[in-house]
Symmetry: C2
């Protein structure tokens, strides 16, 4: 299962808003459709939206008619800007677009730049899947046979180029023949845990228990959970983590109950340009995500709503950050910097 793929000159992706009920593939041949798919969360997950943006650039480039590199570059700018303006929190999107823009600048003629952009997007996809497999193998060292693991949102194949991050760690543990059981928090408002993580776990044959987000502390306090693993949308230089709203709740509740709290993410989610999580922009999404579930209202019409899509977990709550370059622990500032130097 691939969340996103380049197939015969088009981007094919699974419409994740319709899972787990229908498997609908979207075939996109216009970069504006890609931007819209990211914004509407038909494709979501920090690594996956980075790849979608990269392919969106390749798609946009293909549609450009230009007599010179200068004309081409000028016409590529709105493509990059449109894709950039979709979602603000996950850094993978911006890093992917930067890489693509560098490739365009380095190229010589229009035809070759178009080829190079597509090749770069494919490379980014392959790199992400390889990074996920590697970090998952590292992370699985932290999982013992018989562990019960709590996770949040969806961090599996659907959220990435393949295999997954936090869910990848759980898959790798299972592939090492360790018995694992997963507590899946449903992850309101958009229910990625209830809809997507349960659907993936069922496919991998990994047993799980779905719970409402209100129930996380109850099970953490009863000694039922051996560790918590989540993904990341952006990691600041000091190890603070932006991730799906509700992650901070889990981190505090885990520490209060002596349960290790791990973040699994490729280094492409690390943003050394920000010194702490305070600088990470938090996306505010529409009210109807809170007031409705699958289109059905759950509150009186017109109520006042807040809908921050992410929260910041300060690094002091994080037992370790699992990357494809190894498992990183405190002091995060030095060790995260080293990862990029090494």
């Amino acid at each position: 299962m691939k969340a996103i793929e380049w197939v015969s000159g088009k981007i094919r992706l699974i419409d994740q808003t319709r899972l787990p009920w229908e498997m609908v593939f979207l075939e996109l041949d216009d970069y504006r459709e890609v931007a819209s798919a990211i914004k509407e969360m038909q494709i979501r997950g920090a690594p996956a939206i980075g790849i979608a943006a990269a392919y969106g650039m390749a798609l946009g480039a293909q549609g450009i008619e230009a007599a010179s590199k200068e004309e081409f570059t000028a016409k590529l700018r709105p493509v990059s800007e449109t894709l950039s303006a979709t979602r603000p929190t996950a850094v993978n999107l911006f890093k992917a677009l930067e890489r693509m823009n560098r490739v365009a600048e380095a190229g010589e003629d229009v035809a070759r730049i178009k080829e190079a952009l597509l090749a770069e997007a494919k490379k980014l996809e392959e790199e992400n899947e390889a990074a996920n497999r590697k970090l998952s193998t590292y992370g699985a060292e932290l999982i013992r046979d018989g562990f019960t693991i709590m996770t949040h949102c969806n961090t599996g194949a659907l959220a990435t180029a393949g295999y997954g991050t936090a869910l990848g760690v759980i898959r790798a543990a299972k592939e090492q023949s360790k018995a694992v059981h997963v507590f899946v928090s449903e992850t309101r408002p958009l229910l990625q845990g209830a809809r997507l993580t349960t659907w993936e776990l069922a496919q991998y044959g990994i047993p799980f228990t779905l719970i409402a987000d209100t129930m996380t502390g109850h099970f953490l306090s009863r000694g039922r959970i051996d560790c918590v693993i989540v993904g990341a949308d952006r990691i600041a230089a000091n190890g603070d983590v932006a991730n799906k709203i509700g992650t901070y709740n889990l981190a505090v509740l885990a520490r209060e109950n002596g349960v290790p709290f791990y973040v699994a993410a490729p280094t492409s989610s690390i943003d050394l340009s920000l010194s702490s999580g305070d600088e990470i922009p938090i996306e505010e999404r529409g009210a109807e995500e809170v007031t409705h579930v699958s289109g059905v209202p759950i509150a009186p019409v017109g109520v006042g709503v807040a809908n921050p899509a992410f929260d910041i977990t300060p690094h002091r709550y994080i037992s370790a950050i699992i990357t494809e370059k190894g498992i990183i622990r405190e002091p995060y500032v030095e060790r995260l910097r080293k990862v990029f130097q090494g």
Copy 2:
């Protein structure tokens, strides 16, 4: 607005499963219907289900034909047992039934016992509303002008004989002309916050912001919340509190962020027979409450689910317990005992 009332020999209650969309009154003339309404949460909230059980006893008593007190008492037993077997966590239910059974035992002839049972149920209703108004006045002393208050589940008029407990405190603050703003957590799985608390607050003209349960820590960590107030389904002798699932999450997150965490409840919710929260039975409800929202599925068919309806908040997280006999702080063991002696 009365959640429950005795009207012309019947129990009239608002079907809370249909709020805020429809105001449907149920008129019940069979105690088994009352038991079913409690079990299905058409009436809910610890004080309200105590009153429903008391009126259920009065209703059951009216239907008994008996030639002697002994025959009457024997026929009343299954009424009490049926009402008792509805929900295990809130102690108000069991205390109300005990009171009603004592009245039945103390009575002399069948006709007078029937009258006395109805009078006792009415008294219980009046006592609860008076207790709520009194505890709300005490509690409002803790609320300053301009406070933003986070609350969970529904603890208003709908959950009680009238006025409310945690929501009563907020109403009393507003009636003292203090400006308040309420953050309402939606309270999955059954969404009492999103459906009922928003609906009540709108009627009282109190401004509020509805959030998903995942967002509580985010706002607590950003200095947006001045205090948290919740209700209680049962308070043990040491001050541990059983309340709607998700309460423990809020208590831990509040303390972590230096935000006072208050529990507002009438003394009828205190159970001195249990030394700690570990002894309070936690109701486990059906899987479909987690897998569905308003009848709409939110997860794949047949997934494994846990659905504890309550959690335990250890007393060390509780800044104060607000009762009609005053505001109680640590050490809870002594001070809670004193309340019952005084």
